[in-house]
C-alpha cells in the first residue's frame, strides 16, 4: 500500500457516519530489530475533523510559539484524535472504515 493513498481519505465509523479525514499516520520504531533501525510499525491514523492538511504539527507537539500561530493552528485542528490500527476495519480508496465500538485517543506526541 502507498501511504499517500491513505492520507486525506475520509474516516467513517461502522455506520458510515463521517468522522473526519486522515491527516497523518503514526508509526513506532518497535518492530523486528533490523541491521540499522527497527521496523516501523503502523500504530494508527490521526483523524482531523476539518482538514487533512497539517502544518508543523502544532496540535501534536505542544509548541506555543509564536503564540498567534499556535493558537490559530490548535483551533483549526481542534477535535483531532488518534485511532489505533486494531480499530480499523477496512481501507477503501476513498474512505477508512472503523470497527464498531472503536476507541479515540489523544493525538499528542508528548509522553
Amino acid at each position: 500500500m502507498i501511504l499517500n493513498d491513505l492520507l486525506g481519505s475520509d474516516v467513517r465509523d461502522s455506520d458510515g457516519g463521517r468522522l473526519g479525514e486522515v491527516s497523518d499516520a503514526r508509526f513506532a520504531l518497535d518492530g523486528t530489530p533490523g541491521q540499522l533501525l527497527s521496523d516501523a510499525r503502523l500504530v494508527g491514523i490521526v483523524v482531523s475533523p476539518r482538514t487533512a492538511a497539517s502544518f508543523l504539527g502544532y496540535e501534536r507537539l505542544g509548541i506555543t510559539q509564536p503564540w498567534p500561530v499556535a493558537q490559530l493552528l490548535r483551533w483549526w485542528h481542534r477535535g483531532s484524535f488518534l485511532v489505533l490500527w486494531e480499530d480499523i476495519a477496512r481501507m477503501d480508496p476513498d474512505a477508512v472504515y472503523l470497527r464498531p465500538g472503536y476507541a479515540a485517543y489523544e493525538v499528542g506526541l508528548q509522553r
Binding site: 500500500m1 501511504l3 473526519g20 508509526f27 533490523g34 521496523d39 503502523l42 476495519a89 470497527r99 506526541l109
Partner: protein
C-alpha cells in the same frame, strides 16, 4: 453531518520512538552514509493491507517497507500520484537514522534513486574535454 468521536483516552505506551509520517518522514532530505544528498522522500510503501479487503481482527500491523521517490511534481500540482512502477524504492532496512534529515547506512552510488546523476556523469559530463578527471 459529521459525527463526534467517543471521549478521548490517553494513548497506550509504546516501547519505541513514535514517528508521524507527515511530520517526521515525508519531504525530508535523505543523505547517504557519507552525507551526500540522495533525494527527498515523496511517499512511503507499507506492507499491507490491500484496498477493499476487510482487515481481520488481530491482523499484524503494516510496516514501512520502503521510502519512495520519483516524478511527483506534476501530480502534486494537478492531483493523483504517479503509477507505483515509476516510483523508486529505497528499502527501510537501509535507513540508519531519523532526524532533521534521514540518513542511510549505505552509499548512494548503489541506489536507483541516483541513476539520472550517474547517467549524466558518464554520458555527458565525462565526454566534455577535461570532464573525466580532477582539475590540475
Amino acid at each position: 453531518m459529521r459525527k463526534q468521536p467517543p471521549p478521548l483516552r490517553k494513548p497506550p505506551e509504546v516501547a519505541g520512538r513514535l514517528l508521524d509520517a507527515q511530520l517526521h518522514l515525508l519531504d525530508r532530505q535523505l543523505l547517504d552514509v557519507d552525507g551526500v544528498p540522495v533525494t527527498t522522500i515523496d511517499d512511503l510503501e507499507l506492507s499491507g493491507p490491500e484496498h477493499d479487503e476487510p482487515i481481520p481482527e488481530g491482523a499484524e500491523a503494516p510496516r514501512i517497507t520502503a521510502l519512495l521517490t520519483g516524478p511527483v511534481l506534476g501530480t502534486r500540482i494537478f492531483g493523483g500520484r504517479p503509477p507505483s512502477n515509476r516510483l523508486i524504492r529505497i528499502p527501510w532496512s537501509d535507513v540508519a537514522e531519523v532526524g532533521t534529515v534521514l540518513r542511510l547506512g549505505v552509499k548512494g552510488e548503489s541506489l536507483d534513486a541516483l541513476w539520472v546523476e550517474r547517467w549524466l556523469r558518464d554520458r555527458v559530463i565525462g565526454r566534455i574535454p577535461g570532464g573525466s578527471h580532477d582539475p590540475e
